[in-house]
């Protein structure tokens, strides 16, 4: 029965990882920019959820909508006015630029929120569901469901909407997209905005399950790297697959080897995949 319990824990964790990585993967795939601010946007989303809950009692899953709208705007502006200026430069410059911006955000977070770990405790607590001997806390279950819904929403937007098709077109063949009248800078900004919105929304859900602190951003960023490489870059199904795989590997690995090996395992897996199969499990370069 412990096996089923670990499986469930892994799937819950994995859905959150998928949600974290989907936006990161979109930005990396479409803009060819590694956004080192992604982890900080997640933490900012978590702080937003915490703040809204403590001030007006808004549940985190409703803060999610606030975070999505607000951070779409922030991401759009950051891309339009800052990152767009180095988008054609070698990868080193865009990476360094996002690192510099992240230092600023980190400093601001430390200044305003302090370095302590905080956590969002719902009052009254939601308790947990028990299926036989398998126990699932309700708040985690809700976080998992919303994470999957959010990822599904991204998938539908990219597949069905006009702007989504334009993003995919830019991802697949930028030159052809430009010829067909797609406004590339605008699409870049929208894609970055969506990536940022996904990060902050995921953050509101993570507030339910993880302790939050400014430094937590690096752990989340690391997960986004690993999931992207595992699942395949720039694809939503890839992010889901990679996220679930990482969640399962971490939980089973922690059970079998001890919790201190979870991080080592995930980065070992990352390097292995980069060497053996850098295009990820799904291995399609297209974007769906």
């Amino acid at each position: 029965m412990i096996f089923v319990q670990i499986l469930v824990n892994g799937l819950v964790l994995g859905s959150l990882y998928a949600c974290i990585a989907a936006g990161f993967s979109l930005v990396w795939g479409v803009l060819n920019v590694i956004n080192l601010m992604h982890g900080s946007f997640i933490v900012l989303g978590a702080y937003l959820a915490l703040g809204l809950y403590l001030s007006i009692g808004l549940a985190p899953w409703w803060s999610l909508a606030v975070a999505a709208v607000l951070f779409f705007g922030i991401g759009y502006l950051i891309q339009r006015f800052l990152i767009n200026r180095v988008i054609a430069a070698p990868v080193l410059l865009s990476l360094t630029l996002t690192f510099g911006l992240d230092l600023i955000i980190q400093n601001a977070m430390l200044y305003f929120f302090k370095a302590d770990y905080r956590s969002l405790k719902l009052d009254p607590a939601l308790g947990s569901l028990a299926f036989g001997s398998v126990v699932v806390p309700v708040d985690r279950l809700i976080a998992m469901i919303f994470a999957l819904l959010l990822t599904l929403a991204l998938y539908i937007v990219l597949r069905k909407s006009r702007v989504g098709r334009a993003i995919v077109a830019v991802r697949v063949d930028q030159g052809a997209a430009r010829l067909l009248g797609v406004n590339i800078p605008s699409i870049y900004a929208i894609a970055f905005g969506i990536g940022t919105a996904m990060a902050a929304s995921a953050g509101t859900l993570l507030a339910l399950t993880f302790p939050i602190a400014p430094v937590a951003s690096y752990a989340f960023l690391g997960k986004a790297f690993v999931v992207c490489v595992l699942g395949g870059l720039g694809s939503v199904p890839g992010a889901v697959l990679g996220g679930l795989l990482l969640g399962l590997v971490e939980t089973f690995g922690a059970y079998a080897l001890g919790p201190e090996f979870a991080v080592m395992l995930s980065f070992g897996l990352l390097i292995l995949f980069l060497v053996v199969r850098p295009q990820g499990i799904l291995g399609r370069w297209g974007f769906e």
Binding site: P90, L97, F99, I104, Y111
Partner: protein, 309 residues
């Protein structure tokens, strides 16, 4: 020719630090030498070869632990540092051989993952490294404060001189030419008979050696290391920023960039403690947006010429 003059002035200027008798100044100069070693080493792979490595901290930590563990076994400092260099060369050659087939962001992330992986190994190999408790490195002789500061300053300074010499030799040699070919068009370089795997692996291995030796000196200098300290991600990022300040691709630029950075960082730390990392972040952003080719391109900027990233 002017770059050799700049390098000479910088090295002589740094060597003057002990003359002041001020241990605070010597600490800063030691730190500047340490980062200059790392920035110049990064430039070999990131600047000359064009592979954005984020693995500097991996070799720094590897060197610090190799030499630190040897020091606890009563091995003399010069030997333990030399061993750290050799170990790093071998490890970097192996990692490089495997990872240098990746390009761009993939290479950057893979090298970053190496840092994380080595940190976790150092964290969990408790018998050898002391794990998260850290490793105490014994002093081998009871020198005075000033004598000890001088010892480590000259160790770092000598290492910087050696690094600069080797990097400049590589820059001027056939290897440097091959690396430039690889940076510009790897496929074309292969076609005309440049053994790109050999040369870029060599560049990566060399870029690991001096960083590891700097890590070794650092470990003995501070007497205590722990995984989060010597595998710190900032140790990976700062050399890149320093090379950007000096202008990517130039050894002397990287060394000057390191000194400018350390000086600026110290001034910011002293005056704006609460906002230090934010101000450094702003500097990085401004540098990338307005001076992507480093301080050396400032005169172009001032004359109103276009400087595109």
């Amino acid at each position: 020719m002017s770059k050799y003059i700049i390098l000479g002035v910088v090295l002589v200027g740094l060597a003057a630090a002990p003359l002041t008798g001020d241990t605070y100044l010597m600490r800063m100069a030691t730190l500047a030498c340490m980062y200059a070693v790392m920035a110049a080493s990064w430039n070999l792979i990131g600047g000359l070869t064009g592979y954005p490595s984020f693995g500097t901290a991996a070799f720094f930590g590897l060197g610090a632990y190799t030499s630190g563990i040897l020091a606890t076994l009563d091995v003399a400092l010069p030997i333990s540092i030399a061993v750290a260099g050799v170990v790093a060369f071998v490890v970097a050659a192996i990692i490089g051989f495997i990872l240098l087939r990746l390009k761009g962001h993939y290479f950057a992330i893979a090298t970053l993952a190496c840092v994380e992986l080595l940190r976790e190994i150092a964290n969990s190999a408790t018998d050898l490294t002391g794990g998260g408790m850290g490793l105490n490195i014994p002093r081998n002789a009871d020198l005075g404060i000033f004598a000890e500061a001088s010892l480590f300053f000259f160790a770092m300074w000598g290492l910087l001189a050696l690094t600069a010499l080797v990097c400049l030799m590589v820059e001027r040699s056939k290897i440097g030419f091959a690396l430039a070919c690889i940076r510009q068009a790897e496929g074309a370089a292969e076609m005309i008979g440049v053994n790109s795997t050999l040369y870029k692996t060599l560049a990566f291995a060399l870029s690991g050696v001096f960083v590891a030796m700097a890590g070794g000196v650092y470990a003995s200098w501070v007497h205590y290391i722990e995984p989060g300290d010597v595998f710190d991600i900032l140790l990976t990022i700062k050399p890149v920023v320093m090379a950007l300040i000096g202008g990517v691709g130039s050894t002397v630029g990287a060394i000057v960039g390191a000194i400018v950075y350390i000086a600026a960082e110290e001034v910011i730390w002293r005056n704006y403690l609460d906002f230090s990392s934010g101000i450094i972040g702003l500097t990085v952003v401004g540098l990338v947006l307005f001076l992507p080719h480093g301080l050396g391109s400032l005169h172009l900027r001032l004359r109103g010429k276009a400087v595109t990233p």
